[in-house]
């Protein structure tokens, strides 16, 4: 790995932070919903899509980001938001529906928006892809030197917005990187039942742009491929399409019985947990000892806990505040 150690450590720290955040959200999500699960109840009501297992997809681009770069993410946004550095306190507060949240409680977990860093996500499949194209248009017109990253699932790659966005970005040679998080399932529908070809990265040829497959759920592989694609975009050479094979360790949303995936599939997934694997490798390669990793854990856990404490200590918005912010 001829990657600066600082980058490796940063990616590891971020993975730990993401995983811990997802674990804590999961615990608190269920805390007051069980034993008789009621989606409307508790500190965090509503749907909750967690990304445990998909950390490599998010952290690999992190060292290559510049301030002002735009990211559009999906209904499963936490890992990407955290990797970009979205304020964790405000993000947690939003998820808990508090006044101090990114959107003062109006958006919730699928609608996290941040100005600095420049982040957005959405509950509609494919919706963020054209937005990334437009962000790139703005960067080009304004000469900011920024690029846009657009995350989407392998299920989203069959939505019309995918096609239109890639064509526009390629046609106008815009600084965008499209990143397909291939976790093999769209809710219960496996990729083979939704996608006519094995690899979405091969669809890049329909737009005359580079398509790269990252076949392993590994932050280093992602780091390298994303680095090249982001450089290319920043240089003005146009968009790329990256597909990364990754794993959604948990259900589609919390409360999903996940009966559509076999026990074997789930077991295999847990065995290859990317956080565990990356930690081991960093020990092996002498980048971070077990003790150092434990220290990182402690620090990151504290960061996450502080964010959750901040959220829980924050007030709910006043009910009539619902009327604010429809128009500027």
């Amino acid at each position: 790995m001829d990657i600066p150690k600082a980058h490796l450590v940063d990616m590891y720290e971020t993975m730990v932070r993401i995983r811990r955040f997802e674990e804590r959200i999961r615990e608190l999500y269920f805390a007051d919903k069980l034993p008789a699960f009621d989606i409307a109840a508790g500190l965090i009501p509503g749907e909750m899509h967690l990304a445990a297992g998909q950390e490599p997809v998010a952290v690999g681009m992190r060292p290559h980001l510049h301030p002002g770069d735009a990211i559009t993410a999906t209904h499963r946004p936490h890992h990407v938001a955290i990797a970009q550095g979205v304020d964790l306190n405000k993000m947690a507060a939003e998820i808990f529906g508090r006044e101090t949240g990114l959107g003062q409680g109006k958006g919730g977990h699928m609608h996290l928006f941040s100005v600095e860093p420049n982040f957005g996500c959405s509950g509609i499949i494919g919706e963020g892809m054209p937005v990334a194209v437009g962000a790139a248009m703005a960067f080009k017109a304004r000469g900011t030197g920024n690029i846009a990253l657009s995350y989407f699932g392998e299920g989203a790659a069959n939505q019309g917005a995918f096609h239109e966005s890639l064509n526009l970005a390629a046609l106008w040679k815009l600084p965008v990187v499209f990143i397909c998080e291939d976790n093999a399932y769209a809710i219960s529908v496996p990729k083979a039942s939704s996608t006519a070809i094995p690899d979405n990265s091969d669809r890049a040829s329909a737009y005359g742009i580079p398509g790269v497959l990252v076949p392993e759920n590994d932050p280093v592989a992602v780091y390298e491929v994303m680095g090249a694609a982001m450089d290319r975009a920043r240089r003005g050479d146009g968009p790329s399409l990256i597909e990364i094979k990754t794993d959604r360790l948990w259900g589609h949303f919390e409360g999903d019985a996940d009966a559509y995936r076999s026990d074997e599939f789930k077991e295999d997934m847990n065995v290859r947990d990317p956080l565990v694997a990356f930690g081991k490798r960093l020990v092996e390669e002498g980048v971070l000892s077990e003790a150092e990793q434990a220290a990182i854990k402690e620090k990151e856990y504290a960061t996450v806990e502080a964010a959750i404490d901040f959220a829980l200590a924050s007030p709910y918005p006043a009910p009539e505040a619902a009327l604010n912010h429809v128009f500027a």
């Binding site: 008789a36 699960f37 009621d38 989606i39 409307a40 009501p45 509503g46 749907e47 939003e94 529906g97 508090r98 949240g101 959107g103 409680g105 109006k106 958006g107 919730g108 977990h109 699928m110 609608h111 959405s122 509950g123 509609i124 499949i125 494919g126 299920g155 989203a156 069959n158 939505q159 019309g160 917005a161 769209a186 809710i187 219960s188 529908v189 039942s193 939704s194 996608t195 409360g255 009966a259 559509y260 709910y316 918005p317 006043a318 009910p319 009539e320 505040a321 619902a322 009327l323 429809v326």
Partner: protein, 339 residues
């Protein structure tokens, strides 16, 4: 003709049963949509169908709503009777052309030569903090556009009967079920969501409202989950000596204007409860119907309790304040009758 029954079902099971029974008798009926097969539908509307009828007739689709809803149109005009699910009505924006410009208009454009017997099922409604892109009802929007019938059951009995009517209808029918009225184990517990449902096949006519409760002092016109809220409100109002009549529209297109007018002529007062956005929608249409049909009978200006013209917010206190509630209904009626 339906027999009396002691059997109770949730609305969700009643929907799935209605589909299953039509699939049994009509081989041209098939189901497609996201997660309708192995998963049984995110809201269970297609539960058990894959096991019964196999993957040729219960088809899990990619996330390609324009593609598969348009395919339902093509299948419907070529001898099939598709039931196609749009998982949440909120997603209509990615496929609306196929719905309103194609499915809804081909019969007209063809001068009546081509029929499009498709059922478009979709989940509507909020109340569980799913935020602004997963909580809308939008029925006013679909009812505004010509060529689609629009039904919204509020009870298990109606759900099954309207589903069977919808499948047999030679027109495209949009079948909107409210998540909160389905009786799902994992959704807000709702005692009104379970009710008697005959085992045999039966129909409920599309275009006929139902008097969900008789009353004399005020007419409450509503649909979907708000029928339940209105019933709860009426019970409270009864204690205050106010007798509310509740009209469950059951279908927005065709709209049973006679039922609205007849009730307002009787009670002289009208409240419309609408979980859809307040302006330019159902509430204004119902009020206009009443004003035009019962102008001289109205003792007070009609009132509405609806979702204000704001995106549906996520946070629990915000959402609770935003959606129609029993409290808001009681308060509105109380003010109207005392005003």
């Amino acid at each position: 003709m339906t027999t009396m029954t002691d059997r109770k079902l949730t609305m969700q099971k009643a929907i799935a049963e209605g589909i299953a029974q039509e699939m049994a008798v009509d081989p041209s009926v098939f189901v497609m949509g996201e997660d309708v097969g192995v998963y049984g539908g995110i809201f269970g509307a297609t539960e058990g169908l894959l096991d019964k009828y196999g993957p040729e007739r219960v088809i899990d689709t990619p996330i390609s709503e324009t593609g598969f809803i348009g395919a339902a149109v093509g299948a419907a005009i070529n001898g099939m009777r598709p039931i196609v699910e749009l998982m949440f009505v909120d997603f209509f924006g990615v496929c609306m052309d196929q719905i309103y410009n194609n499915m809804a208009k081909i019969h007209y454009f063809s001068g009546g030569n081509i029929k499009v017997p498709a059922v478009l099922t979709t989940a509507v409604g909020g109340g569980y903090s799913d935020a602004g892109q997963h909580s809308q009802t939008l029925w006013g929007l679909f009812a505004h556009l010509p060529g689609l019938k629009v039904v919204v059951p509020s009870s298990a009995y109606d759900a099954k009967g309207l589903m069977i009517s919808a499948i047999r209808d030679d027109n495209p029918v949009m079948y909107m079920f409210h998540k909160g009225a389905l009786g799902l184990g994992w959704m807000v517990n709702n005692p009104h969501a379970t009710g008697p449902v005959p085992e045999e096949s039966y129909t409920v006519p599309i275009g006929k409202a139902r008097v969900a409760r008789e009353g004399t002092d005020v007419t409450i016109v509503t649909v979907g989950l708000s029928v339940h809220k209105a019933l709860d409100a009426a019970a409270l109002l009864e204690a205050d000596g106010v007798s509310a009549e509740i009209i469950d529209l059951r279908s927005l297109v065709p709209l049973d204007r006679e039922a609205i007018v007849a009730s307002v002529q009787k009670t002289h007062r009208l409240l419309v409860v609408d979980e859809d956005y307040q302006s330019f929608g159902m509430s204004g249409e119902v009020i206009t119907t009443a004003v035009q049909g019962a102008f001289d009978y109205l003792d007070a200006p009609p009132v509405r309790v609806a979702t204000p013209d704001i995106p549906i917010p996520y946070s629990h206190p915000l959402e609770t304040w935003t959606l129609p509630s029993v409290d808001r209904i009681v308060a509105a009626v109380t003010e109207m009758v005392s005003g």
